[in-house]
Amino acid sequence: MIKLSAASRAAFLGWLMLGAAMVVVVGPFIWIAVASFKHPIAILSGTWSFTPTLDNYTDVLLSKRSDFLAGVRNSLIVATVSTAIALVVGTLAAYSLHRFAWARWVTLGFLGWTLAFHMIPVLTLVGPWYLAFKQLGLYDTRLALILTHVSVNLPMAVWLMMSFFRDIPPEIEQAALVDGCHPLSAFWYVVLPLVVPGLIAAGVLAFVFSWNEFSIALNLVSQTNATVPVVVAKFAQDYEIQHGQMAAASILATIPALVLMVFGQRFIVQGLTMGSVK
């Protein structure tokens, strides 16, 4: 037997873990993708040799019984609008807390509240939201989802933007103010361009959270305003479970995540790991 040095044994183990991790992470997607091209009989028999079909996809996307495309429309509207609002409101609040000398209790109170709210299971608040939106006539509207998604995403946006603002040397802003720049112009022309990566990271994360969000959408809207997760869940929940459609819908719902991974990877990693390094 060949005797390996400790270093090369660790490297071998590393490569082994790398391979195993890839199989474990990617395997389920491949299995589901394969299943999504199968006829019901091929799925039930568990065979690997089958004639591929697009029936499941056409059923999910085009059939009259399916709300998938309406769900995509609702999800896009809700995710885009709520992300935009959360970004604007969150960035302003983060800048205000970072830049202006607020009393300690204001800063601590605000950040403490966002932290506490972030930790509470959202289902404790869906009940009161349900009652409030019913009273306001906003139950079963996209606006109800937009408002709640903004409040859920706001803590993340504030924290992320604050840590980006902290990275800007104060001299840059001071120089602008000394040169006669107004506070607002200094913010808009000097500070904001420096935190564009932060805006992208917060935006991508907020969009993904909103696109994926299920427990609020399940309870605050019904069929016509249902988002993609609610529609996907219905394929798995209906009295007669439709396995092929379930697989196809899961794959379709995953596409935005894959697109974001390709284009926004740097920003996502930065957003997700922010704070752990500092």
Binding site: S96, P128, F214
Partner: protein, 302 residues
């Protein structure tokens, strides 16, 4: 007569003067209206019964009734136990696996970027899609898990339909979903370890075990804490996957706290009792938060 533009300039000046205040205001409003007000309402609901008649709400003051519902809720004890088991077991496995992956892959020279890319996928995929994927894979008759068991000669197992395995199956899915997140955080920290310190310890004759225990792990402590706290919070809130995979069943064998709240609120339509449960949940979470802060402060002082 004022010159055109003077009016506008006055407005911009006012904006500048009050920038400090109006920049924080929208966020405060959002939190006041969408989180603080609902929590106040929750307290009101917790001592009431809310019913709907002809489209209008009827509130009645029934603190006794809600309290006795809490005492009569036989599902509550198993739900609390399930949630604790779920959080502790799932998060422990995720921390250990994530750390092992980060350390081993941090030592590699190539393939890191590819792996990091792959590891982002499970974090970004809708939890509902993950739930429905694993529901197919756990299927008794054609699921991939039983297929694999069949290859090594083990009879098919009822992953989601047996009281002993349902919670474990949910934990398996959670581990698959979140090990990548722990890995990403710890991997970033491993890449940022000071090479000179590790090298110095090695030169001084530290064994691999000593190096890990005395140098690497202490240096990774901040990242480990962040990963642990984030995961514990999220695991405690888990809803989507359980809702899809088992619906809490069979019986209450895999029912977690969030799912129980959902059932009380929206399946049994008990808004009053649901609110009481929510108040207890929020109180529990906040006292944990306070306790954790107190603990870290004591730690820092030492």
């Amino acid at each position: 007569m004022t010159r055109p533009g003077a009016h506008r300039r006055g407005f911009v000046e006012a904006l500048n003067r009050t920038f400090r205040h109006w920049s924080l205001l929208p966020a405060v409003l959002v939190f006041a209206l969408l989180t603080a007000y609902p929590i106040v309402n929750l307290l009101r609901m917790a001592v009431s019964t809310v019913e709907f008649k002809d489209g209008s709400e009827i509130w009645s003051f029934t603190p006794q009734r809600n309290w006795s519902q809490l005492l009569a809720d036989t599902a509550l004890a198993p739900v609390v136990v399930n949630t604790l088991v779920f959080v502790v077991v799932a998060v422990a496995i995720e921390m250990v696996a994530g750390l092992a992956l980060a350390l081993l892959i941090g030592g590699l020279t190539r393939g890191k970027a590819l792996l990091r890319t792959l590891m982002i996928i499970p974090i970004l995929v809708p939890p509902v899609a993950i739930g429905s994927m694993f529901k197919l894979m756990f299927n008794h008759d054609f699921g991939v898990f039983n297929q694999l068991l069949g290859y090594v000669g083990i009879a098919p197992v009822s992953w989601l339909g047996s009281t002993s395995l349902a919670l474990l199956s949910v934990i398996i899915v959670d581990v698959w979903h979140w090990v990548p997140f722990v890995f990403l955080i710890l991997f970033a920290a491993v890449e940022g370890l000071p090479k000179e310190v590790l090298e110095a310890a090695r030169v001084d004759g530290a064994t691999r075990g000593q190096l890990l225990r005395r140098v690497t792990l202490p240096l990774l402590m901040p990242a480990l804490t962040v990963a642990l706290v984030f995961r514990a919070i999220l695991a405690f809130k888990t809803f989507d996957e359980v809702y899809l995979l088992t619906g809490g069943g069979p019986g209450t064998s895999s029912e977690l706290l969030s799912l129980h709240l959902y059932k009380v609120f929206f399946e049994q339509n008990q808004l009053g009792y649901g609110a009481l449960l929510s108040v207890f949940t929020i109180t529990g979470v906040l006292s944990l938060l306070t306790f954790a802060r107190w603990l870290t402060r004591r730690w820092a002082l030492r």
